[in-house]
């Protein structure tokens, strides 16, 4: 392994953590697995993240920024405010179809650790709140009643959960059609 500064080692560690935690769940991945996949030694891993839980938090935090960034970037390409809302579900469909898609990382983490780790639970709530606020902004921009935002949020959550369990992209299209109906009355 070539020399690597702390920032690069941190990225390598988080890359490996994201791939393994998301793909196999958090509890079934050991720190030694992270070391093997990242090439970052245990000693350095523990310098960067004093305990596994902090690595988990950093993983969720970085993924939150990236995930919402990707969504917002996709949506922002549309001009029409109504189209932007529908674009959310189109982006979900593309995500569901990606290799290795295994549902929503936060919903999965909550099922695994929500009852035992208050910090993870708080991060999940923050992420979902941010998504809800984002949708509320789109709904307001489209001049739709505020109650629609909560409804669209539930459709998106249901689609993520169902796509994760069934492995199909169809929930995104179903949710999109429901969203269209809810928007037009």
């Amino acid at each position: 392994m070539a020399v690597m500064d702390s920032a690069a080692a941190r990225e390598q560690a988080l890359d490996a953590a994201e791939e393994l935690f998301y793909g196999r769940g958090i509890q079934s991945v050991g720190m030694d697995d992270i070391r093997g996949a990242s090439g970052v030694s245990l000693k350095r891993l523990y310098q960067l993240f004093p305990a596994k839980e902090q690595l988990v938090e950093a993983y969720l935090e970085r993924r939150d920024v990236r995930w919402r960034g990707r969504l917002a970037e996709f949506v922002a390409r549309r001009e029409d405010p109504g189209e932007r809302i529908l674009a959310v579900f189109e982006w979900l469909e593309g995500w569901f179809g990606e290799d290795g898609f295994r549902g929503c990382a936060w919903i999965n983490s909550y099922g695994e650790l929500g009852a035992t780790s208050a910090r993870v639970a708080a991060q999940v709530r923050a992420h979902k709140q941010a998504l809800r606020d984002y949708l509320a902004g789109l709904v307001a921009d489209a001049g739709l009643p505020g109650t629609v935002a909560g409804q669209l949020f539930l459709l998106a959550e249901g689609a993520m959960v169902t796509a994760g369990i069934t492995g199909s992209t169809e929930p995104a299209r179903v949710a999109r059609e429901a969203a269209r109906t809810l928007m037009t009355r």
Copy 2:
């Protein structure tokens, strides 16, 4: 502990498993916790369930029968087919408000074990498929187009997940209003 036949011991074990697995997650509950909470000795636990995974499967199976039974019983009290569909969301609201509610047991289990236990993953899919089929029956009875069933299913899933994460009963009411809109056009 008084004498107890196998059937009673099995029920005691499953009662404890359900309370602990649902409340704290599966991986964080040890077989010794089950023994302590149920009063069934380890030896007998292993006679009844040769491995922890089989206890987990029995827990999910028994809960599936009971959960869907409770829902169907509540819904069946309504006469009008359209009212029956809305009653699903009313039942969800009552469930969300129960003490110790912590989201959908199957969604949580899927987050925890979906990637590592094929049998648990299959049980989750079966449970969700059964719920979807049940909703499809209600939708057909109400003379609504079949596409509505999938939309209502996503709303229910989104409500369960969101209520679990936020601890609020509100998602049930939001989903109910969305359902009403989707049904009336």
